[in-house]
Symmetry: C2
Subunit: 487 residues, 2 copies
Amino acid sequence: MEASEFKDFAKAMIDYAADYLENIRDRRVLPTVEPGYLRPLIPDGPPSTPEKWQDVLNDVERVIMPGVTHWHSPRFHAYFPTANSYPAIVADILSGAIACIGFTWIASPACTELEVVMLDWLGKMLDLPPEFLACSGGKGGGVIQGTASEATLVCLLGAKARTVAKMKKEKPDMSESDVISKLVAYCSVQSHSSVERAGLLGGVKMRSLQTNDKNEVEGSTLEEAIKKDIEAGLIPFYVVATLGTTSSCTFDRLDEMGPVCNKYDIWLHVDAAYAGSAFICPEFRYLMKGVERAESFNFNPHKWMLVNFDCSALWLKNPNWVVNAFNVDPVYLKHDHQGAAPDYRHWQIPLGRRFRALKIWFVLRLFGVENLQKHIRKQVSLAHHFESLVNTDSRFEITEKVVLGVVCFRLKGSNEINEALLKKINGRGLIHMVPSKIRDVYFLRFVICSKYTEEEDVNLSWNEIKASTDEVLSLNGSVTNGVNGIH
Amino acid sequence: MEASEFKDFAKAMIDYAADYLENIRDRRVLPTVEPGYLRPLIPDGPPSTPEKWQDVLNDVERVIMPGVTHWHSPRFHAYFPTANSYPAIVADILSGAIACIGFTWIASPACTELEVVMLDWLGKMLDLPPEFLACSGGKGGGVIQGTASEATLVCLLGAKARTVAKMKKEKPDMSESDVISKLVAYCSVQSHSSVERAGLLGGVKMRSLQTNDKNEVEGSTLEEAIKKDIEAGLIPFYVVATLGTTSSCTFDRLDEMGPVCNKYDIWLHVDAAYAGSAFICPEFRYLMKGVERAESFNFNPHKWMLVNFDCSALWLKNPNWVVNAFNVDPVYLKHDHQGAAPDYRHWQIPLGRRFRALKIWFVLRLFGVENLQKHIRKQVSLAHHFESLVNTDSRFEITEKVVLGVVCFRLKGSNEINEALLKKINGRGLIHMVPSKIRDVYFLRFVICSKYTEEEDVNLSWNEIKASTDEVLSLNGSVTNGVNGIH
């Protein structure tokens, strides 16, 4: 493909992309395809000779769009938001053209240096303690990870290395595998599945702590578990506190967990994947009270801060434990400036890395902090608007305090009737939600996801939920009368 | 940013990107900046209100480009190639607009299904055994990983899970941590640093096998090591064979290693990160002879097949070991079609994933297989052209057989004089190379990286090397006469 053809093709795709996003409301949010739908739509193998780009572009509507779940539709209320913005898309064009692999400083100094500074910018926007920021001149600093899962795992591995080193000093007769077999990490029973997975991947025990009636982990629960494990001869080494759980967007008692971790010399990692973006608004920072006692802090600008996936921001007070845990240094990756700037390959699991800091730079400059704050505040207020709509209908109950953009609610009654309701809603396909379950109580999560969402969209979604409810309750009533319910 | 402004900005960036790539020869391949260069060029923090996109675009030349190492310059001969093509950049625009997170099938069926079929297309292009392909109807199938490092780690963790399960059956009295402490994996002393790192991350012993005088691992070396370890009570479980090492692009004796692994029931993983792309040309497939005995095979279309980073293709004959090793299944990720199509989140370390199959689809259709083969063949022939130039100069020696696009060579003489030569070359900044070292012999790697490279570029690079050599040798000579050499 020649440059001139690229320009035509790319510009046609830009128009297509803008058209797709500006008219996304018109598409059914959930596709109706069945597994295996795509294979028959395209040939068995690649062509020998080039096709026309116009044919490829046309196939996007024919082959791809019928199978797309439209995450940026204002009718999409599932999972958590994922970011998408025009400045980020443009930044990625530049990243794709430069296409450097920034594994060391010399491999493209701009790639490393913009990342260092952007993580400082972001950290200042969140008002993170200075020990986390490179600009404070200490050891601390930030790095872009692919996902929060990787951040949790990277810090777990750093904590593991730190504790193994400590135990080697304290108990030189213990073998490394002996130490590892005794390591125990802690998270909330409500932590994201990736935390449990980090334990599996890292080959260490991960203990799920029970929460209080507000679904928060308390400091006393953590301390009790730690004491019990120490008594049993185990070695507590890593704690993950979640700010904004996936199930119900609740917040662990970071202010209580920090002192406990400090007391027992345990690495405290803060997973604020979704909620972290809200901390650019001062009024939400009370939710991260106590963050100064953590070793590492992570949130995903690629969730709620309009920076396209993948962009998960991780700060470490002392990156050396992570760097040393991963440090393998062949001749072909050595360079003259080692030590003067971070070689980010040591801060992550993959070796290669794209120029992702460009996305942050473009988004921050082209929105400005005030507009990003407006974005967060608007989405939170839309969630409260939905909450107030639910409260007008006595068939429903809100199951969790609404703090940010997530509303947890359910039909008063059995889990089964709520499962039936969700199935009905998703089956109709106008809006999309996913459920969750806490203490065996099944509920629906309504999340404000799209940056295009307006009050009338929320009203429409609510009307759709009410209509589905009417259908399910009338069906359920009639079936109950007949064959003992749909349960 | 409104849609109309996005279109203007994005189209200006498209023009900038094309202009950058078409004129990349005019830029100094290595930047001259020092660590810390970037911070003073931009403000201390983000702006409160939006800036103009024109200012952001202008800052690309002012702030970013002075610190970019131009990986796509025909003067760039370092590391391995990294892919960059116009069709892939356009596909990424679409991926950025759709911006779905394809962790489950329902989260965007097109994202999963195009990936399944594209991995079949790719596998057919390489003539992989059908057991690796989803279209063969067995268990096997492919997945896109971020990097080869992750593929190596994912398979190591799958192999670990498989062996732990096996040992639980065979020796139920052994504890899991006992098993894990006895696990041992094998790779070549020439394997990529990420293989050693996978061992560190996975918490298992990784043994580096010595190579023969052609730098290949032989089957007998592997078997000897396995036997010795079994005698010592250890449990061999995972072997990585490298096809195309980073140091010198040599190929382990896969045909000999496969039968050994099968005999001892050990998971054999093939890392063909760079070389794999060449297997789309039948004449290079002799290099993967014996692949049918492997459990998993990996190569990076993002290296040599014009699909932009990140796109590392991994095939597994039986993905269940990996899937089960990582499987954590919360309510909010369950869906009605589980089992009917892969939920790729179980095949990888992160949870989230972009719509990366689009890049493969666009590249394969808009180049066609024949042009991709031409691309590989041309780059190999340019490497041989460089080899022939080196052979005209008796000051140099070729240190490794040239098979693909990598030429290993050195000045006859000490390591120090070769180090001085490379420093001189990179210091002049017209071309860029990195060194390697095998058995304490330091040499230079000349890699054909850019798709823009033509014979005259190689000639220019060779002339630059000769000129640098003249300088270094004359300096060395004069200094040697004075103060006993620069050594």
